[in-house]
Symmetry: C2
Subunit: 358 residues, 2 copies
């Protein structure tokens, strides 16, 4: 049974937990905001379900709750930010703000980040650009769970990309997706329901097709978007590689198999090639290309045309990226956020430790 | 039977054809260079096989061989270029050069293009950045042949993306791919061989799975990368949409179903929403992020590690993006470029028209 809880109570709880581990008032509020946006948007795997994990990484001294986040290099339209091992939930918005400031002056701003941690949903950061009439881009590398095409080794993370594009009277276009066929969160849902995965999501430790959602625990791997060579998994590999290189080789973070794991019970690689995990952010001022009103009007026309596409018999309408997450947000703000019982139990334990409740 | 021909002879032939349709000496040389790079790299569908098509579009007055390509808007790191209905083969390098010049000053440069035509392989344009120690990005929209997930209508092109990243002692990373499960060129190969396509590449005009490589002629559609909803085709749709919006909504070109067809026997839509087709280019100076030597060294390590990944039993090694195209180039420079007999026959006819041979 999944009980639902009001957004405000859960946000306050997350905020207070971040304060307890030493975050400043501002950082705690920001981290709670990023985290809860995932729950609101229906991306449960990236919201409160991760709070205990962040605390464990702090306990293991792998998250710095009082980071000195700072620029280490810059040009008019670029910067590299060192996150000082801070929460990605805090480092991300800091770096994205720099990208936005640079775009105000230069037309675009691009920021690569090293020495960070898991930054929640890419969508939060990319969407920061929207209120400035900018297109926002956010990507991050992640612990290696994905085998490139032909490989038995796990060398890439699920390496998500988000592109957020403002419109006029239509809601913005927000595409936020892992560069694998299925994200890890989808496997977790199958694990809880005791169901098999479709062929093409995962492979065994020997690289053979598998439908076992627990396969990763036995050394198996997620598969890049495309599922197999015949269906373009080498393109999904290209995407994941692109994210990895922009996030980490440009910034000086760890890349590929050297990315430190997100769970405290797995030790980071003993031979790091960089600092922490890496992100990459971009902001592009729409009116650095054409008058913003023209752009908005054509985005509205783009969205309206695609939304009204004739659907395949028996299938739903074409989904404009961002629509499902916006509907989820509306619903959950009104009706509360459902927590899976295992997540709720974990959060209660965390609350007991810190004398907090929700 | 496919006869092979020396690169130089074919390049000269293409050059001379472009001169015959009125291109300047410089434009003809550039267009021939872009076109032949596709043949050298093994992307036969985008090379000489398209030359007759370009000429037909010129005959239909849909390609302007003497374009006044010019900037219509700019900021320190951005520009919009109007291609004046020129060959994309010429407009692309012009726009990419602006991106590179802006990156020299600003760290990065981003150019959206309207009023252009088919630009050949995305890789040519993106790779222009490499010799400047820059990362290059190129994308383009294209005539609608792809149905978004759930749609029976064809609303997107195969909308390719190329990301080219310099390395040190290793060759560059060059990922150049259509955002569909399979590019149209792959269907053409099956058509010639009279073979069926794998399920997941194409759908019928009613949106049902098909293996008929001729399905597009009957109103069928290509499918976004991912093949079906369960395997992430909505992500492939996001990618194709991203390319379409950056290429055309940012620039003022036609987007989605309004993109004019590449073939002269199909008329452009009567109600255009912009000018011609659109491209989007980016150049990022590596040392706008970190010292170029550090970057090169880590790219070498990235490439070496992925190349040496343990392969699945019976499968080849992990392919570093760009390797197959580089090997093809080497081979075809030495042994000549094979032309399919139908392509050769078409080129001979074109030669007869212009009193040219190869």
């Amino acid at each position: 049974m999944n009980a639902t809880h009001p957004y405000k109570a859960l946000r306050q709880f997350a905020n207070d937990v971040f304060v307890k581990i030493g975050c400043s008032t501002m950082d705690a509020g920001l981290a709670a905001d990023v985290l809860l946006q995932a729950d609101l948007r229906g991306i449960d795997s990236h919201g409160l379900a991760r709070l205990t994990g962040y605390v464990r990484l702090w306990e293991a001294k792998r998250v710095n709750s009082k980071p000195d986040i700072h620029k280490v290099h810059e040009s008019p339209s670029t910067a590299v930010v060192d996150g000082d091992q801070g929460l990605g939930l805090v480092v991300g918005p800091y770096a994205m703000s720099i990208a936005i400031e640079k775009a105000k002056v230069c037309g675009t701003g691009w920021v690569a980040v090293r020495n960070s941690n898991h930054f929640g949903i890419a969508g939060y950061h990319a969407m920061m650009a929207l209120q400035h009439d900018m297109i926002g881009i956010a990507m991050t590398n992640a612990s290696p769970l994905v085998a490139p095409t032909h490989s038995v080794e796990r060398l890439l993370g699920t390496n998500p990309i988000c592109v957020a594009i403002p419109a006029g009277t239509q809601p913005p276009f927000v595409a936020d997706f892992a560069t694998t066929t299925a994200a890890n969160g989808k496997l977790e849902i199958l694990q809880r329901k005791n169901q098999q995965a479709p062929v093409g999501w995962i492979q065994t430790k020997d690289g053979q097709p598998s439908t076992n959602p627990h396969e990763l625990k036995d050394g198996g791997a997620l598969i890049p978007l495309g599922s197999d060579r015949d269906h373009g998994s080498h393109k999904g590999f290209c995407l994941g590689a692109w994210v990895d290189i922009f996030s980490a080789v440009l910034s000086g973070a760890n890349y590929g198999p050297w990315v430190p794991p997100f769970v405290s019970f797995l030790a980071p690689p003993a031979d790091p090639v960089g600092l922490g995990i890496g992100h990459f952010f971009g902001a592009m001022r729409v009116d650095a290309f054409r008058p913003a009103d023209d752009f908005r009007q054509h985005m509205d026309q783009w969205i309206t045309r695609f939304r009204s596409a004739k659907a395949i018999n028996g299938q739903p309408a074409v989904v404009i990226p961002g629509d499902p997450e916006r509907e989820s947000t509306k619903k959950r703000m009104e009706e509360g956020i459902p927590l899976h019982e295992s997540v709720e139990a974990e959060l209660r334990k965390l609350g007991d430790k810190f004398q907090l409740t929700f």
